[in-house]
Amino acid sequence: MLSPGAFALFKRSAIYRDGDVLLINHPRFGKIVKRAIDVNADSLWLEGANANSLSRESMGPIERARVQGKLVYHIDRNK
């Protein structure tokens, strides 16, 4: 999981699957990184890895067009 201050590389993809960690341009919360769940053709839902994260209901369904890429690599601060 991403630690505070981590650098992350995201790649655009034609296919996103449940469990992918995505960079989202969220209409309310701006650029956020969340795990995809319930991915379908037009939209998907999000969940955070942290127990204190926003609820999936508060983030709502996300249009596929708002997905900017999926996490392919990250470098944490202590590396």
Binding site: F7, L54, S58
Partner: protein, 165 residues
């Protein structure tokens, strides 16, 4: 080494930022609007039952307005409670107050009953459930509460926070 290079580039503004651990931007939660909406449901039921006008058309108009507004206020109760429950109550608070799930579900059910019919006892029960939710909410903030009669019809006892200043 790689982190240091990336950190340098980040300092130059060359790397876009994203939040992975965001919370609600404003962080303002208060059960007050839900309580006012619940009291409004009772008030609208009272007006609908009143039959104050002799004119049947005027009476139909009053009751149509009350029904519409009652629907909206009951829905507002559900929306306000859902937001606090879904966004404010996080794992540690839920562990400390495990009955919140059942209480919220009861509020959803009772608010729907208020939409479906005009039974005043359903409205009163809704106010009481939201009162209980408000007491739990303020307890999570270590703020005492008191029950006072609201200074407007239907003058029911509502939970208010006892604030220091």
């Amino acid at each position: 080494m790689i982190y240091s290079i990336l950190n340098y580039l980040d300092g130059k503004g060359l790397i876009a930022r994203a939040s992975a651990h965001c919370d609600i931007p404003c962080g303002i939660y208060d059960p007050g609007p839900a309580l006012i909406a619940a009291v409004s449901v009772v008030r609208l039921m009272d007006i609908a039952h009143d039959g104050a006008s002799e004119d049947p058309v005027a009476l139909a108009n009053i009751r149509a307005r009350c029904t519409l507004r009652k629907e909206e206020e009951a829905e507002k109760v559900k929306q306000e409670i859902r937001i606090i429950w879904g966004d404010y109550f996080k794992a540690p608070l839920l562990e400390a107050h495990p009955n919140v799930h059942a209480l919220v579900h009861a509020i959803m059910q009772k608010a729907s009953a208020c939409k479906q019919d005009v039974h005043r006892e359903d409205g009163l029960a809704l106010v009481e459930l939201v009162n209980e939710f408000a007491e739990i909410f303020w307890r999570t903030k270590s703020i005492e509460t008191t029950r006072k009669t609201c200074p407007y019809p239907p003058q029911l006892k509502l939970v208010y926070p006892v604030l220091a200043d």
